[in-house]
């Protein structure tokens, strides 16, 4: 229980740091009202908007009232179109979740079997082919893969739409773009984790009990080998979100990433802030869940030895 409390406190501390950091960094860059409104605006109007957006009080008061508002679920209003910032962001969540979820699914469906195959036939030509492909896969910059896919499947073959999100066909290329790098990473983690598991004594025990190869693989090796893979996936959520921004931009996918690049371009402070806090919250939360699950599956972690290496 003590361990869970410490983890929760750490997560809370991290969240506090994130919100504080976001708040001050975005305000350290000058008066948002002056940046946002046209240059030739008169002083009275400027003051009106500064008042309206809560930019007149001293920074510390703004910070305190910002926290108060956050606890009431109030993320402020969009400077651009006067809508509730949280509402704006929340509308986009399903699109990004769909894209990210499909990408992760693709990554698992491609990556896990390849990693298992490579581990089973360690040091064979098959292993080498799979691992070489994996290196290519995760070295491929996301935006470049996206552009290559558009060139081939949209412009040359005219098979798939290059932008938008209306149908399932719209989902294929963005999800592939986002998923490829993760598939390669999962293949690598699965392989090394499988190799470690396959030499464990319980595998020999299973064999001596007379369990067949498929049974040994499915019931003994895989459950043990997938624990670290799932853990790593949890820690990769941030990376996934970062890449989603790029992918959404390439394919004009109307998710949080596009909203972010757009809001950043028009300097919509409230929306940018809201997105960053929601993303950080997602990351802290998923890291914590992974920690908790992992601690349950592998009691050694709880003792606190897990920080030595990645």
């Amino acid at each position: 229980m003590r361990w869970i409390t410490i983890k929760t406190l750490r997560a809370a501390l991290t969240m506090w740091l994130v919100v504080t950091f976001v708040f001050f960094v975005l305000r350290a860059t000058g008066d948002p009202a002056a940046i946002l409104l046209p240059d030739d605006i008169d002083q009275a109007t400027l003051e009106f908007y500064r008042e309206k957006w809560g930019l007149t009080a001293p920074l510390w008061e703004q910070y305190v009232s910002y926290w108060k508002a956050l606890f009431h679920g109030d993320f402020g209003i969009s400077f651009r179109n006067n809508m509730d910032a949280f509402q704006l962001v929340w509308e986009r969540v399903p699109k990004t979740a769909l894209l990210g979820g499909t990408a992760l699914l693709i990554a698992l469906v491609i990556g896990m079997p390849l990693g298992i195959l490579a581990a089973l036939y360690k040091d064979s030509w098959l292993d080498r082919v799979i691992m070489t492909t994996a290196v290519f896969g995760f070295s491929m910059p996301n935006f470049f893969l996206g552009i290559l896919l558009i060139l081939i499947f949209s412009l040359q073959l005219r098979m798939l739409p290059s932008s938008g999100s209306g149908t399932a066909a719209h989902l294929i290329m963005p999800a592939l773009t986002l998923g490829t790098g993760f598939a390669a990473q999962i293949a690598r983690y699965t392989r090394s984790s499988m190799i470690e598991v396959l030499i464990r004594p319980y595998m020999r025990t299973a064999r001596s009990k007379g369990a067949g190869p498929m049974r040994r693989l499915a019931q003994h090796a895989l459950p043990n080998a997938s624990v670290p893979v799932v853990t790593i996936l949890g820690f990769k959520v941030g990376e996934l979100l970062g890449w989603a921004v790029v992918t959404e931009t390439v394919f004009a996918w109307p998710g949080i990433g596009r909203l972010l690049t757009h809001s950043v371009a028009v300097r919509d402070l409230a929306v940018v802030q809201c997105i960053m806090i929601i993303l950080a919250l997602t990351m802290v939360f998923s890291n914590m869940i992974v920690d908790l699950i992992y601690g349950r599956l592998d009691p050694r972690v709880r003792v606190g030895a897990g920080t030595a290496s990645k």
């Binding site: 750490r10 991290t14 910059p141 060139l151 921004v245 030595a308």
Partner: protein
């Protein structure tokens, strides 16, 4: 981490690395050659470039690159929408991307290793604070933070470089801390301490060379990520912006001409890809060579 509490310190430094350089696979050799060429470009782009990278020649717009119909030897990689020589732009763009990524990686490594040592040495509160910072950094979607900061702070090279340096330092810190704590209790460190050496001397002269292997591996993991960090931000129109150019900026610009001149995006994209690929191949190989226990 670093193997057993062995009696004698292993040979370190160049001789050990050179000894392991024999029997290099072809892929790794190719990767090395490519990276050395990229390093050459980083230092000598201005010497090699056939034209000024921003020399505009509107009479020669959108020339295709070499094997395609209509190319000229005057512009082996073709020209862009303003008639600027693509080869020259590529060289200068690669220089910017490489220089920034190298600087960012090294700065991040220095910060991370220093803080890792500090956490391991001071322990207690220092350790707690530094590890909390590590957690904080790991929990921040740093790419997204950088995106927002750059957009609001405007086009500043210093800010961009600082963001790149802060990207990935926590990996070094975590590894250094773990390795130092493990190494401190090993035979060689205890022996030197017994001889009366000061902590700083032990760390720099004895511990650091012994943990250099895993840190080098971390460097090879971190560098491709840093290059992707730079190119992605520049691709989105933040980071490096015109009149300067980088590989990501070129790719972002070329994206608008996919139908009429696909090479404007594909050529810089391929260079980014081959750079990260080469570094990953080299990193994998180094990892297998230097630290068999990290296999996989």
């Amino acid at each position: 981490m670093t193997a057993l509490p062995d009696a004698a310190p292993r040979p370190t430094g160049p001789s050990r690395v050179l000894g392991k350089l024999s029997h290099v696979p072809v892929m790794v050799l190719a990767a090395m050659v490519f990276l050395i060429a990229m390093l050459g470009v980083t230092f000598f782009a201005q010497v090699i470039q056939p034209y000024d990278f921003d020399y505009i020649d509107l009479m020669n717009r959108m020339k295709p690159p070499a094997p395609l119909a209509g190319f000229t030897w005057a512009h082996p990689l073709g020209t862009d929408t303003l008639g600027r020589d693509l080869l020259s732009r590529l060289l200068v763009g690669a220089q910017t991307s490489m220089a920034l990524s190298l600087l960012g990686t090294v700065l991040g490594a220095v910060i991370g290793i220093a803080l890792g040592f500090l956490a391991a040495h001071k322990g207690r509160l220092w350790d707690e604070v530094i590890m909390a910072l590590v957690d904080f950094q790991a929990a921040m979607p740093w790419f997204i933070v950088a995106l927002a900061v750059l957009a609001f702070m405007g086009n500043s090279m210093v800010v961009f470089l600082a963001l790149m340096a802060l990207f990935g330092w926590e990996g070094y810190a975590r590894i250094t801390r773990g390795l130092v704590i493990a190494a401190r209790e090993q035979g060689y460190a205890l022996a030197v301490r017994g001889l009366g050496a000061k902590p700083r001397w032990i760390y720099i002269r004895h511990v650091l060379p012994n943990i250099a292997g895993p840190l080098l591996v971390q460097l090879t993991i971190n560098f491709p990520n840093t290059i992707l960090f730079e190119t992605s931000l520049s691709f989105l129109g933040l980071g490096i912006r015109p009149p300067m150019t980088s590989l990501g900026q070129m790719l972002g610009e070329g994206r608008d001409y996919l139908i009429s001149a696909w090479w404007l995006a594909v050529v810089p994209g391929a260079v980014i890809f081959f750079t990260t690929l080469s570094m990953s191949i080299l990193g994998d190989w180094l990892r297998a060579k230097l630290d068999p226990s990290l296999e996989g």
